[in-house]
Amino acid sequence: MSKKTLAIALMDPPYESENLTTAFRILDVAARRGYDINVFAYEGASGLAFMRQSPHPNPVHGKDVAEENHPTTKDQVAALLSEAEANGGKVDWVNCGMCVDERGVNEFVPGTRRGSPADFHAFIEASDNVLVIPTK
């Protein structure tokens, strides 16, 4: 199977939509295949790689942080980058600059970067295919 480059645009914010679960499943398959992956995180999705997310306990269920084992999207982004690298691919994850400024989420997972819709245009030009996952 030849190496491919895929671009995916995400728009949903963390912890709200099943769209992101499906998106990360698609990205995971591409990373395991060693594809190069271009992600444009737009609008609410610009918070996915925000570094200051932290797991929390669940006092309602009487669980501490370790027992709750709450996944954060920043860890999922970091895992995606690691998985791609381990399989010979790379991820160019761009966080929309205006979007992160609006939301105060401009500290990113290492390996992701700030950018603009111009980067998405460049991704489209450079990729074999593009999937846009819009908000509902």
């Binding site: 491919k4 769209n19 398959v29 594809y35 295919n129 593009v130 819009p134 509902k136």
Partner: protein, 106 residues
């Protein structure tokens, strides 16, 4: 002839837009294109034998390849699928993207 991947994530019992997406799939095939309709998330609720599954069965009979995400089916406890619908892993989406299908998400 072009090749299309249409991903339907919405529940037809909740959103009337879904019917228009089915119509898009039907129209693309009628125009001589190859179409895969991949049901994901609440989109798989129509894959059960139900009031909405006849529309999907008709699409399948008309030449649309109708697939339902196995993970979404398992999450919702759906094991019996309506006529013309097959369960498939999410890998199928990546296969289609890699093969250059024009891909839309709804």
């Amino acid at each position: 002839m072009a090749q299309y991947l249409l991903i339907e994530s919405r529940d037809p019992f909740e959103s009337n837009d879904v019917g228009y997406y089915y119509d898009l799939a039907k129209g693309l095939v009628a125009s001589g294109n190859e179409v895969t309709l991949f049901l994901a998330q609440n989109g798989v609720l129509a894959a059960r034998p139900s009031a909405h599954s006849a529309a999907l069965a008709a699409l399948a009979r008309g030449g649309v390849k109708v697939l339902a995400d196995d993970f979404s089916l398992q999450e919702r406890g759906i094991s019996k699928l309506a006529e013309g619908i097959a369960a498939a892993p999410i890998d199928v989406v990546v296969d289609h993207l890699a093969a250059g299908y024009k891909s839309l998400w709804h």
